[in-house]
Amino acid sequence: MISPYVFWPIAVLIVVFAIGVVHFKNIVHSALMLILTFVGVAVVFILLEAEFLAFVQILVYAGAISILIVFAVMLTRRIDMNESNPFNKLRWISLIFCLGFFGLIVRIVLTSRISYEKLAVQDTMGAIADGLFGNYMIPFEVAAILLLIAIAGAIILTKGVKD
C-alpha cells in the first residue's frame, strides 16, 4: 500500500493550503488557496476509494464554487486589493479557542478506539446510484428542489424583485 506515503504529504499540504486561505490578506490569494485545498481533498477521496466523490469534488468545489467565489470577489472589489481580507478583533481569542477545540477532537479521536477492519470496496458508483434512486429517492428529489429554490433565490436576491 502506498497510501501512507501519499496521505501524509497530502494531508500536510491540505492543512497548509487551508491555513493559507485564512492567513492571506489578499482575498484573491485566499481564493486560490481554497481551490488548492479542494483539490487536495479530492485526492484524499481517491485515497479513500471514493472516486465518484472525488470527481464531484473537483467539479463542484474546485470548479463551480471557486468560480462563484472569484466572481463575488470581483463584484465586491475595492481599491486596495492587498488589504482586502483583514482579521477582526476576535483573531487571537478565536485562535486559542480553535486550537483548544482541535486538541479536544484529536484527544477524543485518539482515545475512542473505534474497532474496524479494512474491507475491500466494491463498486461504489453503482451503489450510490442504487441508493439515490432507491432508498434515498425522496431526499434526492428534495435536494433537487432545494437546488432549484437556491438558484431562484440567488437570482431574485441579486436581481431584485419589481414591486
Binding site: 467565489i69 483583514p86 479494512k118 470496496v121 451503489a127 437556491a150
Partner: protein, 102 residues
C-alpha cells in the same frame, strides 16, 4: 497504512482552520470560504467512516452528495446576499452587517 484516525485528524484540522477563519476574518467572502472548508472537513469524515466501518453500504457517500448540494445552494444564496448587501451598503465587512441588532 493510514487508519481511520488519520483521516479524522485531518478533518479536524481542516475544520478548526475553517472555524478560525469564520470567526476571525472581516471579509464576508472569506467567511464563506471558511465555511466551505468546514463542510469539506465534514465530508471527509463521512467518507472516511463509510470507508472503514461499512464500505458495502454507501450511506456516507450519499450523505456527502447531499452536503455538496447544500453547500452549493448555500454558497449560491450566500454570495447573492453578499452582493445584495454590497450594493446597498458598499461594504463586505461582516462587522458592518449589524442589522440583527435590536
Amino acid at each position: 497504512m493510514v487508519g481511520l484516525e488519520g483521516y479524522l485528524i485531518l478533518a479536524a484540522a481542516l475544520f478548526c482552520i475553517g472555524l478560525f477563519g469564520a470567526f476571525a476574518k472581516k471579509n464576508v467572502i472569506s467567511v464563506l470560504m471558511s465555511v466551505e472548508l468546514m463542510l469539506n472537513a465534514a465530508i471527509i469524515n463521512l467518507v472516511a467512516f463509510n470507508r472503514f466501518l461499512a464500505p458495502a453500504k454507501v450511506t456516507g457517500h450519499i450523505f456527502a452528495i447531499f452536503i455538496f448540494v447544500v453547500a452549493a445552494a448555500g454558497i449560491a444564496v450566500g454570495l447573492a446576499i453578499v452582493i445584495n448587501i454590497y450594493r446597498s451598503r458598499a461594504t463586505t465587512n461582516v462587522e458592518d452587517f449589524n442589522i440583527l441588532k435590536w
